[in-house]
């Protein structure tokens, strides 16, 4: 669905590259996560993929279209949800969606259906300018679903949303993906990426450091450790035990046999820990 090869981009002629020699592929039907801290080059890459930024150097095809000279028709196939809400404040939520739906050459989803999907149906005829930040974000999100996109670009789709709404948004993404929509997800939220993505790419300083599935990364970079909190002679004891070292294995067996365990969990690595390990930098 997306092919990127030798991609470079600089905002000023002769200036530093915001994206350097990026190369990756996104297969049809997968959720591909683009992870990196602010200023890493995520939005620049997405800008090029969505035609908002010109392709300066490299080869990029999106949904079969060469992005060197993108045709407007490609936008009938893709949907873009922006990190910053961008809706017309003087128009109602319904008017916003109806306006954009008329710009497409393909059948679009009914505005009411989409608003109901994100719990905005009760304020459908209220001006978007009077919406809270989260409501505007949800309106921006569903606008990107108007044309039932084959390829869906999502930039920080859950940022600024309360946990319940964020969970709802993640469910919608999973559901659309199950229907066959390919998703390109840009985020610095490793929990969202971990939960949703089939594969992730780590980008920092404009360079892609690695691409793999969250599971493979955890297996590769995670430590085979178990954290245990148990009662021993009336005292609460916390221990970190290796699943590989023989002594630790025996100790774990002993603790389990006593049956005084209060908390026990495996110490698999989070994507953030792996990111830090790989890039030497945090995701913030």
């Amino acid at each position: 669905m997306i092919n990127v090869n030798g991609l470079y981009h600089a905002y000023e002629k002769g200036g530093p590259f915001a994206v350097k020699n990026a190369a990756f592929k996104v297969e049809k039907g997968e959720i591909f996560g683009f992870l990196g801290p602010s200023g890493a080059g995520k939005s620049t890459t997405q800008g090029i993929l969505t035609g908002l930024l010109p392709l300066q150097k490299g080869e990029v095809t999106v949904a079969g279209c060469d992005m060197k000279k993108p045709k407007r028709e490609i936008f009938n196939k893709i949907g873009v949800s922006f990190e910053q809400s961008n809706v017309y404040g003087k128009l109602t939520a319904r008017e916003n969606l109806n306006f954009y739906s008329k710009l497409f050459d393909v059948n679009t989803v009914d505005a009411g259906t989409l608003l109901k999907l994100v719990g905005l149906d009760h304020v459908a005829d209220k001006k978007a300018g009077e919406f809270s930040k989260g409501m505007k974000h949800r309106l921006t999100f569903v606008r990107s679903m108007l044309n039932k996109p084959e390829l869906w670009f999502l930039d920080e789709p859950t940022t600024g949303l309360d946990p319940a709404i964020a969970s709802q948004i993640k469910d919608i993404i999973k559901e659309e993906n199950n229907k066959g929509t390919t998703v390109f997800l840009t985020t610095h939220n490793m929990f969202v990426a971990d939960e949703l993505c089939d594969r992730v790419a780590f980008i920092i300083d404009g360079e892609i450091k690695l691409i793999d599935s969250p599971r493979n990364l955890k297996l590769k970079y995670g430590e085979k450790m178990v954290s245990v909190e148990h009662n021993e002679d009336g005292k609460l004891v916390k221990e970190q035990l290796s699943l590989i070292i023989k002594e630790d294995q025996d100790r774990l067996k002993t603790i389990i046999s006593r049956g005084n365990i209060e908390i026990m969990h495996t110490k698999e690595a989070t994507l953030e820990e792996i990111f830090i390990k790989v890039t030497g930098r945090g995701l913030k």
């Binding site: 922006f82 306006f99 954009y100 710009l103």
Partner: protein, 335 residues
């Protein structure tokens, strides 16, 4: 075309919820009404009379050589006409006594009826008759009230600038809401978007100007010539509107920037009015100078197609120069 109409429809909908845009839309009409309100006083500098349709032809001819004459069907209609806001004298010819009866409202300009009386007294007298006072009318070349002519021309030129302001405000709204990026990832082309965004401003200039012409009662002017001239000058205001709108995300600051357009407009109008003909070349750079001249001739009904087309061509050339100067800024701002 559907997408262009969608953009226009959105701008109209959004505009009706913005007092600034509503004001811009009705401003030309308000200004025209103010001038119309002032005109009766100004037009009373000429003598206007109302007579009945059955007035003998020779008397009508005599009266029309001195006055602006209106005709009504009967005395009742004459009284109604006299009672209206402006100064009009009723003149009834009494065929039995071969004399005139004048009807006034009572609030007319102090000495005007004396002139009317003197001219009526003069009717039918032989050239040899010696009168104590001789009445003569001289024509200084004015075809209509200067307030009406210049007022309409100024409002029309400013209406084209207001059209540019409307484009500017709609673009500022896009910048404020950051919605251009959302439009840029839809299948609408850049050209369709620009035409859609520009149309409302050009439409405002055309409709506003025609409203001014109708309100000020210019009668049977050549509307095709007016349309040609208005279209030409509207483009330059539209380009200025785009040039300023795409780099501003605050309406008041954008309007303040747009006010620089008033300089060439005012310089063109007052330069054309007050500068001797030999100095007019210093205004040739301003498209509003050429538009002002075109509209003045159209309103005076002295315009010729070749002159209108030449002026419009000059305006379009100047517009093209401005467009090529601003095109990168506009293209960059629309991203």
């Amino acid at each position: 075309m559907k997408k262009i109409l969608t953009i226009i429809g959105r701008d109209i909908k959004s505009g009706t919820r913005d007092w600034l845009i509503i004001y811009l839309s009705i401003a030309p009409i308000l200004f025209a009404l103010v001038i119309k309100g002032l005109m009766p006083g100004v037009e009373s500098t000429t003598l206007n009379v109302v007579m009945q349709h059955d007035t003998p032809a020779d008397i009508s001819e005599y009266m029309e050589s001195y006055f602006d004459v209106e005709y009504v069907s009967d005395l009742e209609a004459m009284n109604d006409r006299i009672l209206r806001l402006d100064d009009v004298y009723g003149v009834v010819y009494d065929s039995n006594n071969e004399g005139f009866e004048t009807i006034m409202q009572g609030n007319e300009s102090a000495d005007a009826h004396i002139a009317l009386g003197l001219i009526l007294d003069q009717y039918g007298l032989s050239e040899d008759t010696v009168l104590p006072v001789t009445v003569e009318f001289s024509d200084v070349g004015w075809e209509m009230s200067p307030l009406k002519l210049y007022g309409a021309n100024i409002i029309i030129l400013f209406t084209t600038v207001l059209g540019g302001m409307m484009i500017l405000l709609n673009l500022v709204e896009e910048k404020m809401n950051n919605t251009l990026s959302a439009v840029n990832v839809s299948p609408i082309t850049r050209t369709e978007f620009i035409i859609g965004k520009g149309s409302l401003g050009v439409l405002l200039a055309l409709l506003g100007s025609i409203a001014v012409i109708l309100i000020l009662d210019f009668g049977s002017i050549n509307y095709l010539m007016l349309l040609t001239s208005l279209l030409a000058i509207s483009f330059i205001s539209a380009i200025v509107g785009f040039g300023i709108g795409v780099v501003n995300d605050e309406p008041i600051a954008a309007i303040a920037s747009m006010k620089v357009t008033f300089v060439p407009v005012l310089a063109s109008i007052f330069g054309s009015m007050y500068l001797p003909e030999k100095w007019h070349f210093i205004l040739f750079w301003s498209p509003f100078y050429w538009a002002y001249n075109s509209i003045r001739d159209i309103l005076l009904k002295t315009a010729q197609w070749n002159q209108i087309l030449l002026n419009s061509f000059i305006i379009l050339v100047l517009t093209a120069i401005l467009f090529f100067t601003l095109r990168k800024r506009i293209a960059h701002g629309l991203k």
